[in-house]
Symmetry: C3
Subunit: 345 residues, 3 copies
Amino acid sequence: MSASLDGRFVRNAWYVAAWSRELGRSLMSRRILGEPLVMFRKQDGTPVAFVDRCPHKLAPLSRGELIGDLIQCGYHGMQYDSTGTCVRVPGQPPIPPAARLKSFALAEKYNAVWLWAGDPAAADANRIVDIPEYDRPGWGLVDGQYLHFATSYLNLTDNLVDPAHTSYVHRRTIGNSGGEDVPVKVEHSEGHIVAYRWVTNAEPVPVMKTYGSFKGNIDRWQYYHLYLPSNSYVDFGAVDTGGELTEKAKEGGFRSFTYNFLTPETAASTHYFWLHLRNYGVGIAQVDADIARVYTQTFEEDRDLLAAIQQQQEATGVREYVKLSIDHAPARARLMIQRMIEAEG
Amino acid sequence: MSASLDGRFVRNAWYVAAWSRELGRSLMSRRILGEPLVMFRKQDGTPVAFVDRCPHKLAPLSRGELIGDLIQCGYHGMQYDSTGTCVRVPGQPPIPPAARLKSFALAEKYNAVWLWAGDPAAADANRIVDIPEYDRPGWGLVDGQYLHFATSYLNLTDNLVDPAHTSYVHRRTIGNSGGEDVPVKVEHSEGHIVAYRWVTNAEPVPVMKTYGSFKGNIDRWQYYHLYLPSNSYVDFGAVDTGGELTEKAKEGGFRSFTYNFLTPETAASTHYFWLHLRNYGVGIAQVDADIARVYTQTFEEDRDLLAAIQQQQEATGVREYVKLSIDHAPARARLMIQRMIEAEG
Amino acid sequence: MSASLDGRFVRNAWYVAAWSRELGRSLMSRRILGEPLVMFRKQDGTPVAFVDRCPHKLAPLSRGELIGDLIQCGYHGMQYDSTGTCVRVPGQPPIPPAARLKSFALAEKYNAVWLWAGDPAAADANRIVDIPEYDRPGWGLVDGQYLHFATSYLNLTDNLVDPAHTSYVHRRTIGNSGGEDVPVKVEHSEGHIVAYRWVTNAEPVPVMKTYGSFKGNIDRWQYYHLYLPSNSYVDFGAVDTGGELTEKAKEGGFRSFTYNFLTPETAASTHYFWLHLRNYGVGIAQVDADIARVYTQTFEEDRDLLAAIQQQQEATGVREYVKLSIDHAPARARLMIQRMIEAEG
């Protein structure tokens, strides 16, 4: 299955192309879904994205310049408007009809610029992932975070429906041995998977020891939600042990939501944009800084391990040899992604 | 067409292998037309070039040493004379007939060592490009210049019959917007193309502002001559605006000739040797230094852009999508090179 | 013949995997015969080697940790005992039978950890190369030496049955021009080749000038023994010129044995472990240090040349063009290795 997905991507989906602060009046180049893109803002602030390649002789447009809302190629001065239509060929009045840039639909939400990788006509900004706690009083926000992963986005989606790995990979930050033997449950519906577990009567993990104020042992939940193909949020929290294990109980607990937006760069590398919402330490700059640092460390642990796994997959041509019960959700995610790609033809 | 030329080269042609000052009594290694060569001078100063590979076990001969006019392999001491004939195999009197180095015909002219890449018997030094102004009184010379380009020589020959790109790529040095809309004319004959234009009643370009003494606007010419496959000279100059646009007028003008000698290193990289002749600032060392600096900057602008284009060509397998009228000369040059290669079989 | 050996290795053989001092209670990763291995010592000191890849999702086990004698994967906590049997899958009582690590038979001898690359059941430590002078009074030892070679082990075995190359590659250390024209003799038997020569009435080579006390010219021997596939020792020494050229004479002479243990890392790179025994300067630390330095320099000369040759072989697809009489032993060694590989199927 892995092989059949290599280098193929779901196109009818919203991917984060950049944080809003990254785009301005200079030309920015970034590879997304295997294709180099050039991005900038028009004079009115609207973001624009094109394939970063002049159709004349393939010069990167990001080496050209902005003239008002026109992008001018740095090689022979061809100019394109913000729809990608060529409006000037120096020295040649008739403009060849093929002189067009492929453009993408963009939308801006949650301080991020989202790119619809498929037909722009089908782009519907209402389908961008919803973040209810964003800008809600009582919630502290750390956003604008980015990491580059030298691994397929599929190895990352595996992780993001796999609470079990935190006991080992992240025991210095968000995991510990308390949950080692607690099985993971999985539910899925159209375009969504959640893998979850409650670890009860357990010692708080490092991040909870630092910021929580528990009486002793805790009941801790991990709910790993994945919106296919690659937007994830992790609902993570704890209450003092002994109560009911319900959604209601979670509301009063120590709680955070980590949103992870994966954008394939190539078949073997991924842009990892993330933001974090929490209901503790709100408004305290030091806690903001700590969260950015601790989660960066956490994701760097994933990054280093998954880069090594990517290399092994490439060397062996295999993705896994032995299936465990914790692989149910990752396998389901890959299957659902494969079907989405196949449905797109 | 591009694909069919990839990694193929015209062999019956003179290429600059090195500047004369680069060759001496030590062994120099340089890859030319895809093949590693070892070069040196005999005791009498004559330059010699061989494939840099001992036919015994493929050791690079450039890691061996010169013993008089013999080159000795550093692995087992086999010695070759300056025709490439093996004259000694230590410990073994009979010399295998296959123990021969492939050698090349060389000629020295204009402070450069020229290599005939084809059958040495067909080498005719009279076919080396002629530089009438070289050593002529009233002309200032900057020679011995070199740049390495990570791009196919064909992307460079494109540029060297394309005056139009200077308006954009080189507007800090030898171009400006004055000529943007002036069409390019093309003429060609056996083994030669010239693409040219006159830009009239225009502002002087930066280099002319610095070194010229014009009354106001100028008539500026660009004549881009290419001798196939890859020796070029650019006849570039200006006169005060309003006169006739003739060869006669050029003789009295502010004028320079830039000679560009392209030697393919591999299918995707090129040695760029260049020299410059001018009829202004003659004998002034500061102008020599300025010319070396300004043109180096100019060619580095080409180098960076053409390396990016090479990467795009390799990623997409395409050379260009849209043909413009300015592509007439580059397309003609590629066609003529292709025919030369095909004629060689 | 070369092509048919590329990337294939004799498996039923002992290879040095590490010096004894390299292995301890931390996890060490090293690629051997193309495969990444993880190595460590059990609590009782016994060395263990596995393929460095968890069969679940291919995570390198060397990124996990040792828990007693169990190795625990750092991704999901699977634990393997020192036979490679999985003994724990967190959260899942039944252990899938396929969850096994491929392990290797190891043996420790001469301060080295030897790995049997084939079926562990066939491993017989008595077949490890014998070093009679090791720990023998009157012999000085330099061991624990290592170099990495970016070349096929076959290019190294070529060298190690080729005394002739020392006259050129190593004339600053263990060779000089005295032996240039002395032919090499070859003998071979099951699993063994020796190439040798006596260079008589010759000037001492640099290392003998430094450490020997000869009256004048010498009779010098080079006996290059190769135990297939890739363990070698060089019997090297000299006596004052004029005596008999016998094994008996060698015993009273200035003499050293250099043992070279080649372990293929990949098809194109090799681990080079070596040790040196000598009957001069015994017990003098400065001589130990000098030997380590001089031989390291000597092998670095080989390393640089053979890396260049490897590149030429890869670029041309050829190993050699012209066969000389000195190639008899290397060709024989390759043929014998090929037959060993073919016999293994």
